[in-house]
């Protein structure tokens, strides 16, 4: 009997059945998508760990005999034990052990160690990998929250979907309270009623669940491919994600989906089955208000129709909860995302692409190569289409700045008083600061000298004499001032560089300095070195081995190199480098590679790689840059390992990545909005049943169809407009915060703010809600006033 009743009901109530089916489909699609993505994220992480760390579960450090190996393999849970010659830190051999039952690893390994007679300290666990299987041990204190996070998000998503979709079931079921009251009065048990409703839910949802799950799998495959092509295509050395799907995940997805839908259907079914027959028979399915509160604003704006719409919306608050939440969150997330990406795009463009627009077109990293040993500099510089090509390497050193060396500007903001101890340390005679050295090829250095208006020389350094006003945290608009006093033109300045090693802390916390001579330079600059500071006339190369001294410093010897300063400048060479970004107190030195050859033995501290900063002609195109890249690759082929970056390519990739991210996050926002819109549709589809009496009563006392339409429009406007009104102040506050944090001027952001996409999203929500109300309006127009008013029992 129930079967016939249910099938008849489904056939005769297509709109409410459709609502339930849409809700089931969307929840299945979302959950399947989520499970598919999480499985692949988990799989990717496992693959990454196995690639980086290895797939072993535990390992014993040191060599073991064949007999010991056999003992290990004899353990029931051990699948295999393999000798790894470069196991620990690629130097120490290990025995890598693989378990068939991974859970046994923490209980079996101590027994294995005991049997082999080796100390526990020699046992290492692959905690990161084991954590991916939710196998944890108290000895591993790292949080490793990735997998638990996946589970938590899936549970949260299921819970949210239950809240969201149970409403669709509730609307459909509530429409029939009266009928079930009649069933109940003639003897149907609550269990039978519940079973009938759940049976209906199962019949309606089976198809959508399977379709949604399959589409979710396809969607997750699509997103994985998209993330590969959009997000990771230009990341060198990135392990590409390959889509995979385990049958167990399908089973799990189906279980989660069915459970979510079942709970969503069971909640209203239980509530319905608990009503007494009388309560059920009396129930007309109409919206009721427990307390009245006037909708003054709506009344003011839209007159009596606004007041009526406000009442109706209050009465439907529960039924529209899903719509309210979904639309609010989707709009809020969409607006925030759009603003964030716009701001990020402006910021990247301003601080990166625009700032470095004219300083590089191609950046080449020459792996494991020193600038002084790179032989292709001239060949590259001679290539067609190249305006300049600077070969450079970076090194780090230190030097002391004495009180009297500091510029007046620097002193005005407190000198080194605010300098962090990890960058600057007070030593005898001054402050020890970091000195980044940029070693440029000779030709480029000479060109740089010419650019500065000084005679090109290859025996000295150009010092970047600027320091940021550290009291002004605005990184976007930094204020620079002279760092140290510039000597008079007739004075010869030198900079004494020292190794950038660890300096022993004195008990007072000051860095101990070597007991070298403390000598004032003619310019008043203090240079500390163990040797004599030679005064070098301009144009005279002073560097010699005699200038480099070894200074005993505690247990180690420290050497210094005295470098003539050719110029103090605030003009940097055209390189894609940023200076003093973290350590505002560093004193950058630009030196030619010839000089570096002389002093590198004393200073050291160079980075492993060298770089080539290439500039093409003005208005160079991507094709031209690609051609130059090919030519450079041909030149260095077989001799050096290089990585190339292309400014135009990078700009396009950056834009593509932002577009990709926007598309992915935007899709989630749209999906969220679809749930809300679905709820609005399910609600308005139920209008004919739930609100026909309300409308008939209004019309019986003289509400014209035009006024009813106005009431509908007001309701639609409130439903679509409320998320916008609530979101706007939050978005404005968030933007304010983001602008403040990024020191971006509001005008700059407002000129490029994403008004159009946000407005279109808002418009799309409004259009969908309006469509739902328009369809409802068409249905409501069909009702017969006389019939509805006459009969309140045939609901």
């Amino acid at each position: 009997m129930w079967k016939e009743y249910s099938s008849n009901y489904i056939k005769n109530n297509r709109s409410s059945s459709l609502t339930v089916m849409i809700a089931a489909f969307i929840s299945a699609l979302l959950l399947s998508l989520l499970c598919g993505l999480f499985y692949n994220a988990w799989k990717y992480e496992v693959e990454r760990i196995e690639l980086e760390e290895g797939s072993w579960h535990s390992r014993i450090i040191g060599e073991l005999s064949a007999e010991d190996m056999e003992t290990i393999k004899n353990f029931a849970n051990v699948e295999d034990a393999v000798v790894n010659e470069k196991g620990q830190k690629e130097t120490e051999p290990t025995v890598d052990i693989y378990f068939s039952d991974k859970k046994a690893v923490f209980s079996d390994m101590p027994h294995i160690a005991e049997q082999l007679g080796i100390p526990q300290e020699r046992i290492v666990y692959n905690y990161e990998l084991l954590a991916m299987y939710l196998i944890r041990d108290a000895s591993d204190t790292a949080p490793r929250l990735l997998f638990p996070l996946f589970i938590l998000i899936t549970a949260a998503a299921s819970f949210s979907l239950i809240i969201i979709i149970h409403n669709s079931f509730a609307v459909s079921m509530n429409q029939r309270i009266h009928q079930f009251g009649i069933f109940s009065s003639i003897g149907a048990t609550p269990k039978q009623i519940r079973a009938c409703l759940l049976q209906e839910a199962a019949a309606l949802c089976a198809g959508p669940v399977i379709t949604g799950d399959l589409l979710g799998i396809a969607g997750s495959a699509g997103l994985i491919n998209l993330s590969n092509s959009v997000l990771g295509s230009d990341v060198p050395g990135r392990h590409a994600a390959v889509f995979g799907y385990h049958p167990l995940v399908l089973v799990l997805t189906l279980l989660v989906t069915i459970l979510t839908i079942w709970i969503s259907a069971w909640l209203p079914a239980r509530r319905l089955s608990r009503l007494t027959p009388l309560e059920a028979i009396k129930n007309t399915g109409e919206f009721q208000l427990k307390r009245r509160k006037n909708s003054r604003l709506l009344s003011l704006l839209f007159g009596i129709e606004g007041e009526l719409a406000g009442n109706a919306l209050k009465a439907q608050r529960k039924a529209l909860r899903t719509a309210s939440l979904s639309l609010l969150f989707s709009f809020l997330a969409f607006a925030l995302m759009q603003c964030f990406f716009s701001l990020s795009q402006i910021s990247t463009r301003e601080t990166y692409f625009e700032r470095y627009q004219d300083v590089w077109d191609i950046m080449i990293t020459v792996k494991d190569t020193d600038a002084d040993s790179f032989e292709e500099t001239a060949s590259i510089q001679a290539l067609d289409g190249i305006k300049s090509a600077i070969v450079y390497q970076k090194a780090s050193a230190k030097r002391i700045i004495a009180e009297e060396e500091m510029s007046e500007d620097m002193k005005s903001f407190g000198g080194f008083a605010q300098a962090p101890a990890n960058y600057v340390s007070q030593v005898e005679g001054g402050w020890l600061v970091n000195v980044p050295i940029v070693i440029m090829d000779d030709q480029s250095f000479s060109a740089y000298c010419e650019q500065l208006g000084i005679a090109p020389r290859l025996d000295g350094a150009v010092v970047l004499n600027q320091i940021r006003d550290v009291t002004n945290p605005d990184f976007r608009h930094p204020v620079f001032m002279p760092y140290i006093k510039t000597p008079d033109a007739d004075e010869n300045a030198v900079s004494v560089l020292r190794q950038s090693g660890d300096h022993k802390e004195t008990p007072s916390g000051h860095t101990s300095v070597p007991s070298g001579d403390h000598k004032e330079t003619p310019s008043g600059h203090t240079s500390i070195s163990s040797g004599d500071n030679k005064e070098t006339p301009p144009g005279h190369t002073s560097m010699s081995s005699g200038d480099n001294k070894e200074i005993p410093s505690g247990n180690h010897k420290e050497t210094t190199a005295e470098v003539p300063v050719l110029s103090y400048t605030q003009e940097v060479p055209v390189l894609r480098e940023e200076y003093a970004t973290l350590d505002y107190y560093e004193l950058v030195h630009f030196i030619p590679v010839s000089l570096w050859k002389e002093i590198k033995g004393q200073i050291g501290g160079m980075e492993e790689d060298s770089y080539i900063c290439v500039r093409g002609r003005d208005d160079v195109t991507l094709e031209e840059l690609n051609t130059i890249q090919d030519k450079i690759a041909q030149l260095v082929e077989g001799k050096y390992t290089i990585e190339q970056e292309n400014r135009i390519q990078e700009y396009e990739t950056n834009n593509r990545q932002i577009q990709g991210m926007t598309a992915i996050f935007g899709s989630f926002c749209i999906l969220l909005a679809v749930i809300g819109i679905g709820n609005v549709f399910s609600n308005t589809f139920g209008f004919v049943r739930q609100r026909k009496r309300e409308f008939a009563r209004y019309m019986s006392v003289g509400l014209t169809p035009k006024e009813l339409k106005k009431m509908f429009c007001t309701e639609a406007l409130v439903i679509a407009g409320r998320p916008v009104l609530i979101s706007l102040p939050i978005v404005v506050a968030a933007i304010g915060f983001m602008l403040k944090a990024s020191y971006m001027e509001a005008g700059v952001f407002l000129a490029e703010a994403p008004y159009v996409p946000i407005f279109l999203f808002m418009l799309a929500i409004l259009a969908c809600v309006a469509l739902a109300y328009y369809l409802a309006w068409r249905n409501v127009r069909k009702i017969s006033l006389a019939e509805v008013l006459r009969d309140d029992t045939m609901i």
Binding site: R292, I304, R697, M699, K706, L785
Partner: protein
């Protein structure tokens, strides 16, 4: 002066074998200030007649003229405006709006008409109906009798030309029924309110100045015959 009339009014449902003639050529005339009771058995067509007279339903053929308006010539919007200005309905199931409180229910037709409610008149009405302390209450919190009194107040508040009551006591106990009928009677006597009341109860019909019997969609007694004496006490 004739305020309400129906000419050859027909309302048919279905077709062929399942054709139902709810009204089959009804002629009717009601004078201003008259209290007319329409009686008939269940399914006789009395409610259908009332809905036609109030412009809630459209006849298959024939015409209704009420308060100077030919209803068939009115558009949907005009019909709604006509209802709120000229007709007051009292239904068996009260048909109050559950989302509005007593006062708002009563003044709704006036507000819909864009007029400011006559607060003093409404309060006087509420006092007469014994609802002075229930102005803020929602209909769901009231008894059946109270709800019907609110419905009467709503019908009278807009000072309609015609009050149409469809089994106004159908859901009420005897005592409350007497109260409600007394209110209708008083409105007719003291305010010369034209009332057309539907009932299946001949005793209640005795309260009216004229009784019209309807059966199978046809009026069986002389529609113009008036009763001279009213003997039912309320």
């Amino acid at each position: 002066m004739e305020i309400l009339s129906a000419r050859k009014l027909k309302k048919y449902y279905g077709e062929g074998d399942s054709l139902v003639k709810a009204l089959d050529g009804v002629d009717l005339s009601v004078e201003q200030g008259e209290f007319v009771a329409v009686v008939g058995s269940s399914g006789s067509g009395k409610s259908t007649l009332l809905h036609m007279l109030g412009g809630l339903d459209v006849p298959t053929s024939g015409s209704v003229r009420a308060a100077g308006h030919e209803l068939s010539k009115l558009s949907e919007n005009e019909l709604a405006v006509f209802r709120r200005r000229k007709i007051g309905f009292v239904f068996q199931d009260y048909n109050l709006l559950p989302l509005l409180n007593v006062y708002e229910n009563i003044v709704l037709p006036t507000q819909l008409d864009g007029r400011k409610p006559d607060r003093a008149f409404v309060e006087e009405l509420l006092k007469r109906l014994g609802l002075a302390d229930k102005q803020e209450a929602l209909p769901g919190c009231l008894s059946g009798g109270q709800q019907q009194r609110v419905a009467i107040a709503r019908a009278l508040a807009a000072k309609p030309a015609i009050l149409l009551a469809d089994e106004p006591t159908g859901n009420l106990d005897t005592r409350t029924s007497q109260e409600v009928l007394g209110l209708l009677k008083a409105a007719n006597e003291y305010d010369s309110q034209t009332i057309v009341m539907i009932t299946h109860n001949p005793e209640i019909a005795q309260l009216a100045g004229r009784i019209i019997r309807i059966e199978d969609g046809k009026i069986y007694n002389n529609p113009n015959q008036r009763r001279e004496n009213m003997q039912v006490k309320v």
